[in-house]
Each structure stands twice: as C-alpha cells, then as structure tokens.
Symmetry: C2
Subunit: 380 residues, 2 copies
C-alpha cells in the first residue's frame, strides 16, 4: 500500500538526501537490496523445483507480499489470522496460516475467509481443533484446506508423533467440511545454527519423522500434496532434500544481525541487509558517546544488539539505554556524531523490530521514494 | 477514547465472563485496581505538598491521561513529540516533553503545539538545541517554556555538570522566544534497586548536584519554578526530599513484574497489578506443557519473564518460544490448561509491552466494560 502523502516524512519523498533527514526513529528499506533478495530467493527455489510461499510474519506488508508474488511465490504464509485477514482483504491469494487456529471466534473468522479455491489454508495439530474446524465449515460450499502440523523437534506446535499425525490426516480426510492438503513441519530451532554443515546434519536428523510420515501417507492413499516448511537459515538445505514441496522463508527479504551472523552454503549470506532503523542523536554531552532516540520501543530486544551501519565512525557500538534511548559509543579518539545526526542501525531481529513500526521508508540510495504501510502490525 | 463498537472483542462488552473469552493476545486492564492505583499515588503526592505530572510513556492513552488529570495531576509528561501531539490534540494540558527535541522538523512541530499558557514545555541539555528552539519560537506571541535537563548519573540526557546547567539556564532566560521554567533531573537507574534503604541512599547521592544547582539558580536570581523528576520506584523518597516540585512517575498505574519485585517504604508495593496480557492455549500435545499465542511480539523482552496470574495452575512458568508463541510449563503432576483456555500474564515491563498493542480491554471483575485505545502507540 502506498502512503506517499501521509506521515511526518512524506514531504521528503523525492528530495535528494532525504534518507539522512528522516524524522526518527524510522524503518528504512533499501529497496534495491530488497529487490535483489527477492530475485535471489526466487531463483534458488525455482532451480530446486520446489515452490516458495514466503512468510508475512516478517514484513506484515501488502506491498512486500505483492512483490513476492510477482517474483513467483505461490502464495503467502501468515502466523496470525489477523495477518491473513489483512492480506486477503488486499487480494493476496494462496494464504497459509502456519499456527493452529483453535478458538471458536477465530475459527468463525477463518471460515469467512475461505471464499474460493486457493484462498486460504490452515494447519492443525489437535483432534479437538480439527473437529471444531469441521463444525464451522460443514455445510459450506467449499471445504477448508488443512495441513497437519508435525512437530520435528521444536515442541511448540505440531503432532508429537508420526502416528498422531496420521490419525489427524485421516480425521481431516473424513471431515465433510475439510480437505486434507498435506503436511507442515517447521524446525525453527535449527535456523540460526552458525555452522552450515552442522545445520545440515541437524536438519537431516530432525526431518526423519517427516520422511516417515510422507511415506506412510502414500501407503494410506492420502498423499501429501503440499509439504511446507523451512526458513531463511535452511532454505538451501530444504529446497534440495526432496521432502518439501514448498518453502516458508521470510527473513531473507530484509536480513538482520542474527541471520548475517550464520554461514550459508557459499559462506557469506546470499542476501543483503535491506532493512535499517534510522535514529537521531538527541543528546551529545560527553566526549566518547552520544544518546540516540531508538531504544527498547524501536528495536527488538530478544536477540543480539543492533549494529551501526552508517552515520557514525566505523566501530561505533550501540547499547540500549531504556525505552526510548540508545547509546552510541565511538572508538577511542574519534568524534561522536553531532547532535541531530541521523544514524542507521541493522535490525537485531527483523520480525519483532518491524512489528514496532507503522511504515517502511522505501529508499533508493539516499532518496526516499515511497512510504509503505506495515499493514498487519498488531494484527493477532 | 472509547472504542466500544470496534475491534474483534467489542461483541464481548457487557457479557458475563467476557474477560475469559477474549480474542488474544490482548491487553487487559483491571480498572478497579487501576483506579485504586490512581488514588493512592495522588494521595501520597498530595500529602507531600509536591505535584504529580505522570508519564504517558507508560500508557500512551488519552483515556488514562484524562483520569490522571481528574485525580489531581497538574499535567502529563511525554517522552516523544508524537505522544505530546496526540495528547494535545485530545485537549490534555500541561504537557512536558522529557527528552530533548533537537531536529529542525521536530522543533517546528513542537512550536506549533505552543498555543496557550500551560500548553507545553520541553527539556533541553545543549546550547545548540536551545538556540534552535529560540530561532523557531522567536517572534511568536508566546514564549516556549524550557526546563534545563540535568544529568544526575544516568548519562543518557542532561547537562553533564552544574556549571553547564547554569549556563543553559542563563541562555534560555536570555532567549526572547523562550521562558526558563526550571529543571528536570531523572535518575532512572535507581528506580529498580530492590532494597528501599539502599535506593534512598543512592538517590540522596545522585541528587547532590541537583541540590547545588537549585541553590545556585536562586543566587543568580533565576529560581527554578519547576523541579521535575522521579519515578514509581523513587516517588516515596523524592516526594519527601524537598527538592522536587513535581513527580513524573508512570508505571504505578499498571505495575509489572519488575516493579512488583522491589521493596517500597511499607515493604510491599503500594500499588496493585492492573495490567495483564491475555493469551490462549493454541497447542496442547505434551503432558507437562502447552503453547500459547503470546511471544516476543506480545510481551516486552527487555526485562524479567512474564508471570502467570490466572487460567493455569499455581506455579506455572512462562517461557518465550519465538515471535508469536510462548510455553506454559505446569508443576509436575498437574494438568496443563486445556486447548483454547485464556491465561493471563503479568507484563514483564509494562511500558514496552503496552507499545505492542492498539487497545486496552478494560474489565471490572470478569466483565469487559470498555475498550480504550493506545492512542499514541508508535508515535515517536
């Protein structure tokens, strides 16, 4: 969604150097790096023969989802029903909700989104939830597509055993309101293993139950049309493993300090950092450090520290200094950035950082070219 | 602001037990505890002879600010210009922006808010920022009230020495567009010292420069009409110290795991926990634990862990399990809450948790009575 005429930075659109004068804190998207990331993931997945259904939990944005579809994605994953409602409302097709929807109120809203083929599908891991989904959709014209969620070691969601998953698949298949569409298996805990070979080894281990489940479903005459999973950290491995029909990677569009720190097949990440937080120096009363206006409410605190990418001397280090402030400490002997200077930071963990903002400031070089909305921010 | 007819939970307003059926994750305000907190802080501060200008960085809400004013507050503190714009737009008077406003674009917006006496004031800690404020307001009918910010050991914002602060006070006083209104001194780092006596000792030490500054200003013929500072952790100490004319406490309205853990004058906190995050069990595939729909995007991660307050057996422990999920582990031998159960958590750190939500679900007992907006969420 374009919002070029709204917000405190809209008057900077098209101004040379507008990126360095943003009202802060502000989310900055380097759209050229972003577009290269879209293209690289699309090419890698296409070459493997798998499909890409990238995850909107990272970006929560209609504008980004549209560009992912335009680059060849078969649809978009959502974690929350609210994200799916926002994207469906904007005409995005092929939505998959990757976390179980279990309460009656949410199931009613989900059923209302199931308006056409390839509109929406959802995962389930519990017989009671499958029964509730069936009750809400039975008698409707179109069955709701359900993927059985298999726990491959994360112990967060998913059937705990292959036998449980088989029973759920049979239950879905027998439910008049439901269509058994396949399997989801997401191994989130391996995504950030730093060493690529170790990550590959751990993934092979973790996916052994998935391999048995897929074979058993064939034996039952209930083959999984879709086998969905994988993330940015495993996309090179999972696209080659012959198990997944589609990949759910999300962070590749932006990258962050966490994903920049791990090894990929070729060593360095095949994706560029495209997302930054712009922050301004608001206090400069000490020789070696300054205070900026981005703190806990502007940067995710669940991962590593943000890294300084521009506007301050090389080697400058960020530290959280409360809800609305951070400290930039420059290397000894160097002058800190002056009062009012806009400094950019690489986001520590992109998904929860994006969730703190309403807008992307889309830049080409130093020019602000558009403002996109974080349409599904706060939509649970 | 009332939003009783909007949002996924609006249909539960007035329904018995609606609080236990909320669409989640959702922010729940126990309005009776909240009102008692308002009354207790007002009484404590009133008895001391000081004034209360409570901090909106905690709640970002017009509805809460109005109730604080109705309970006797002389105005409202804001950290960000965006918060001040939202509250001013709703008619809240006596706004003080407690972080320096230094960039030209923000200073222009600030000057536009300075429409009447007791409308808005701002802190400053830098001669360049004072000059910029003066340039933006010179020639206007009404001078902008400025408090000089003194660093009392936090090293985040504030003049680094008493002499620097005196020079700033003289500069403000000499500026035709500005009015010298007094001093701000906020010692954030002592607020969470667990032991009350140790906290009192550290505060006395930290405030020694403030005492010298206040005396020196009297000697200069520039007495500080306002001396503003203090927080929930120091309000009992700072209201008695004879230095502060007004207190900026914010978290007392809600309380959280952090503030519940420290000692107050009477031992236990004089305020009740009034704010909770409601979350639902979305996966229950293991004997000793379940997965809920509140994770890193629903609960602040900069402090302690959230604590379970209702809906699960006593002794149940929460752990983060990613952006949208958490794990509740029950004590050995007890049954975990069933799929779909709504469980409430005490927020770990209230300010950045509130910043993740758009709405407060205001409850009396188990009845949802109103929905208030987090009006200034995301307003930097």
């Amino acid at each position: 969604m374009r919002l070029g005429t709204w917000g405190p930075n809209a008057e900077l659109i098209g101004e040379p150097g507008g990126r360095t004068r943003l009202d802060t804190p502000a989310l900055v998207l380097d759209v050229e790096a972003f577009e290269r990331n879209l293209g690289r993931m699309a090419a890698t997945v296409r070459a493997s023969g798998a499909a890409l259904r990238p995850h909107a939990k990272t970006h929560k944005s209609v504008a980004v989802a549209r560009r992912q579809i335009a680059a060849g994605a078969v649809g978009i994953c959502c974690t929350t029903l609210g994200e799916a409602e926002v994207l469906a409302g904007a005409g995005i097709r092929g939505l998959l909700i990757t976390s179980p929807v279990v309460t009656d109120a949410k199931i009613r809203r989900l059923a209302a989104l199931n308006t056409d083929a390839d509109g929406i599908s959802v995962v389930a891991d519990d017989p009671a939830a499958v029964a509730a989904l069936d009750r809400a959709t039975a008698g409707r014209e179109r069955p709701l597509s359900v993927l059985v969620d298999l726990d491959v070691g994360v112990h967060r969601t998913g059937a705990a055993t292959v036998d449980d998953a088989l029973a759920l698949a049979r239950q879905v298949d027998a439910a008049p309101g439901l269509h058994f569409a396949g399997i989801q298996a997401y191994h989130g805990s391996v995504q950030h293993i730093a060493d690529f070979a170790e990550r590959r080894r751990r993934i092979a281990e973790a996916l052994e139950p998935l391999r048995r489940l897929v074979q058993a479903l064939v034996g039952l005459g209930l083959p999984a049309t879709i086998v969905s999973g994988a993330g940015t950290g495993s996309h090179e491995i999972d696209s080659q493993g012959g198990l997944f029909t589609e990949l759910q990677a999300g962070s590749y569009v932006f990258m962050d300090v966490e994903y920049n720190a791990i090894g990929f097949r070729g060593g360095a990440p095949p994706f560029e950092t495209a997302l930054f937080v712009a922050t301004s120096v608001v206090s400069a009363r000490h020789p070696g450090f300054v205070t900026v206006d981005a703190g806990v409410k502007a940067l995710a605190t669940d991962g590593p520290l943000p890294q300084v990418s521009r506007g301050a001397p090389e080697g400058t280090v960020y530290a959280f200094r409360g809800d609305e402030h951070g400290q930039l400490t420059v290397p000894a002997g160097l002058p800190p950035p002056a009062l009012g200077t806009v400094v950019e930071l690489v986001t520590p963990h992109c998904d929860p950082t994006v969730n703190l903002y309403d807008r992307y400031h889309v830049c080409r070089g130093d020019t602000l070219v558009e403002i996109w909305q974080v349409d599904a921010r706060g939509r649970a």
